[in-house]
């Protein structure tokens, strides 16, 4: 699942739930945020950038691999 929430740091402010442009992170009142729709993550990084606790990092699916070779072959 693309966003990984570190629940030891998360203070349940639910900012990520509100701002996720894809509505992929959800919660219930007073509960911790859950990545409910991981396949709908756009990897825009908003949740990670805006989290006041710095509790969120992105994991990139293998399908999203950036392809590269050594330059100057």
């Amino acid at each position: 699942m693309p966003p990984i929430i570190n629940y030891e740091l998360c203070n349940k402010c639910n900012l990520c739930v509100n701002i996720c442009p894809m509505d992929a992170i959800q919660t219930e009142e007073g509960k911790k945020p859950v990545v409910m729709y991981p396949d709908e993550c756009w990897h825009c990084n908003a949740c990670s950038l805006d989290c006041p606790q710095k509790a969120i990092t992105l994991r990139y699916p293998l399908s999203h691999m950036l392809l590269y070779l050594d330059a100057g072959k």
């Binding site: 996720c20 729709y37 825009c44 699916p61 999203h64 950036l66 330059a71």
Partner: protein, 558 residues
């Protein structure tokens, strides 16, 4: 879930803005300044929604103190660039004249429009030609514009998607149907508005993306699903230029905008430049090959001379630092994060680029010099406009212009009662049906089915009468099956389902227009009309719904 909840009282305003992206927030800010009561309905959250969610770094504009007094040469440059010729120059000129005003507005809000002190233009550029893209730091543009809107008294309703426009007996737009997705259980809300400004962005997710398993691996926001174009058409507004496909390009397989932020040279496997524009990395130009010859990546794969790479290994360290700063301004922090995590070092590694799937940007609602659509009470701004394109700055500037005219318009009209409008019950019935199905198809299946039909029957490789006619029939079948079978377990799934139905509408209109353009032009490649017909030079095709059915027409570019 039983019958969908319907909110009792309707939400009343002078201007309803549909979508709180760049265009929507600017329309709301300006409309409120002009004295109108403005409500923004945004299906996500205006702080981080739309294609400008986490930033942008190029703002197309004309700044007299930088460019001199010849606006025409700058206007001409725009149509030769990434933004293309599928725009009415008269409309583009209106926008360019106002562009510096909006740059100054943003600067005054605290969006850094001259992060290094001076007006700085670079990227998306050809050697020997004027530079038209102002380099700016847009990483916090959305939170800043949200704050400015709230400060002026704009009412922002987040988690509220607008599904349908409401018109009166004379065909004037008088409101809209919204769906509140904040809670698990959706609620229909009705809006009574004297005017509506549609700012719902482009149409992504129409064609299969680079990772078919991940529908959301697209360069522009996957939340933009042609809903503005679709609901405008359904309400009777004229659309334009749907027949000419546009495809963006960038990193493979991590779809992302920002190709012009990279400072390097596009090269082949043997480190030979593929395009004619630059042979050494240039901060001033970037490598505009990806803007001008967007098909280069696929062509080289198809003929076996690919892949094609962005090579920054000869870029000076100072320019690399500038590029990384630019990627942050553009909102591409996840690309940087990815490269860090996988130890990709662009000082020694070259990154493969590709062309992405076709999408609608600068294809859609036809507007006039006021930003007004062809039906009374309806305005449009941003990427969903069909006879104009300039991405982020176009969204911002037309947001302002359309709101100025809409706020004049609303002074002379009264609010119309929309309660009991037949469309509300019709939609409520349909949503309830989807919500109450205990088994059936999910939106994902319908979206994938649409994408494979679009790819095979209206793609940008080949089109023809037989393909398009067959494709239209298959799309109609798909719509019927989806209408009968799609289920939604909650408000989130209902939103996704409605997006797919909008995409189906847009897909069908693309096919109808593609059928009528009986020639080959740019990425509209007809195998039965392989030539470019001079009689169709500078001719735009429109499509609209009338009492006599759906009609398409060609008109002159103005």
């Amino acid at each position: 879930m039983g019958y969908v909840k319907i909110r009792k009282d309707s939400i009343e305003c002078d201007i309803l803005v549909v979508g709180g992206g760049i265009a929507g927030l600017m329309a709301a800010i300006r409309g409120t300044e002009m004295g109108a009561k403005v409500v923004v309905a945004e299906k996500a959250d205006t702080r981080r929604s739309g294609s400008g969610a986490t930033g942008n770094d190029h703002f197309l504009c004309y700044i007299p103190e930088y460019h001199g007094n010849d606006i025409e040469s700058i206007v001409h440059e725009v149509t030769d660039s990434l933004y293309g010729k599928w725009q009415d120059v008269s409309i583009l000129r209106v926008m360019m004249r106002r562009s510096f005003d909006v740059v100054k507005m943003w600067d005054s809000y605290g969006i850094s429009m001259r992060p290094h002190g001076e007006w700085e233009f670079n990227g998306h550029a050809m050697p020997g030609r004027p530079l038209i893209n102002l380099k700016y730091d847009g990483r916090n543009q959305k939170p800043i514009l949200t704050k400015e809107a709230l400060k002026r008294g704009v009412k922002i309703i987040n988690k509220m998607l607008i599904a349908e426009l409401l018109t009166d007996g004379d065909g004037c737009v008088v409101g809209a149907i919204g769906v509140n997705i904040k809670e698990r259980e959706p609620e229909i809300a009705t809006f009574k508005a004297k005017a509506v400004i549609l700012t719902a962005g482009n149409a992504s997710r129409l064609y299969p993306g680079i990772s078919p398993a991940y529908l959301f691996n697209v360069a522009h926001s996957p939340g933009n699903t042609g809903s503005g174009q679709a609901m405008a058409f359904r309400a009777g507004a004229r659309l334009v230029n749907l027949d000419i496909p546009y495809s963006h390009a960038g990193t493979k397989y991590f779809a992302r905008c920002g190709k012009a932020t990279w400072i390097g040279v596009l090269k082949d496997y043997y480190s030979e430049p593929v395009g004619p524009f630059v042979t050494k990395p240039s901060k001033e130009f970037g490598d505009v090959t990806a803007d001008i010859w967007t098909s280069v990546f696929k062509e080289k794969m198809a003929n076996g001379t690919g892949p094609t790479f962005m090579d920054c290994s000869e870029t000076a360290e100072e320019d690399l630092q500038y590029m990384f700063w630019g990627l942050q301004c553009e909102g591409d922090t996840s690309v940087i994060d990815y490269m860090d995590k996988y130890n990709i070092d662009i000082r020694k590694h070259m990154i493969e680029f590709t062309q992405y799937e076709p999408m609608l940007i600068g294809r859609g609602i036809e507007i006039d010099h006021r930003g007004a659509a062809s039906i009374p009470g309806l305005y449009a701004a941003g990427d969903l406009v069909g006879n104009f394109r300039s991405d982020i700055s176009g969204a911002a500037v037309w947001g302002v212009i359309s709101a100025e005219h809409a706020s004049q318009y609303v002074k002379n009209v009264d609010c119309t009662d929309v309660e009991g409008h037949k469309l509300i019950l019709e939609k409520a019935d349909f949503y309830s049906e989807m919500l109450s199905r205990s088994y059936g198809s999910n939106w994902h299946e319908a979206n994938a089915a649409l994408q494979q039909i679009m790819r095979d029957y209206a793609g940008n490789e080949v089109r023809s009468e037989t393909l398009l006619c067959s494709g239209l029939k298959y799309l109609q079948d798909l719509r019927k099956y989806a209408t009968e079978q799609v289920k939604a377990a909650n408000s989130h799934e209902l939103m996704r389902a409605l997006e797919v139905f909008d995409l189906m509408d847009v897909g069908e209109l693309i096919m109808m227009c593609a059928r009528e353009r009986k020639e080959t032009r740019e990425n509209h490649k007809r195998s039965d009309y392989t030539f470019t017909n001079p009689l169709l030079n500078n001719m735009f095709q429109t499509i609209e719904k009338t009492e006599d059915g759906v009609i398409t027409e060609f008109r002159k570019r103005i």
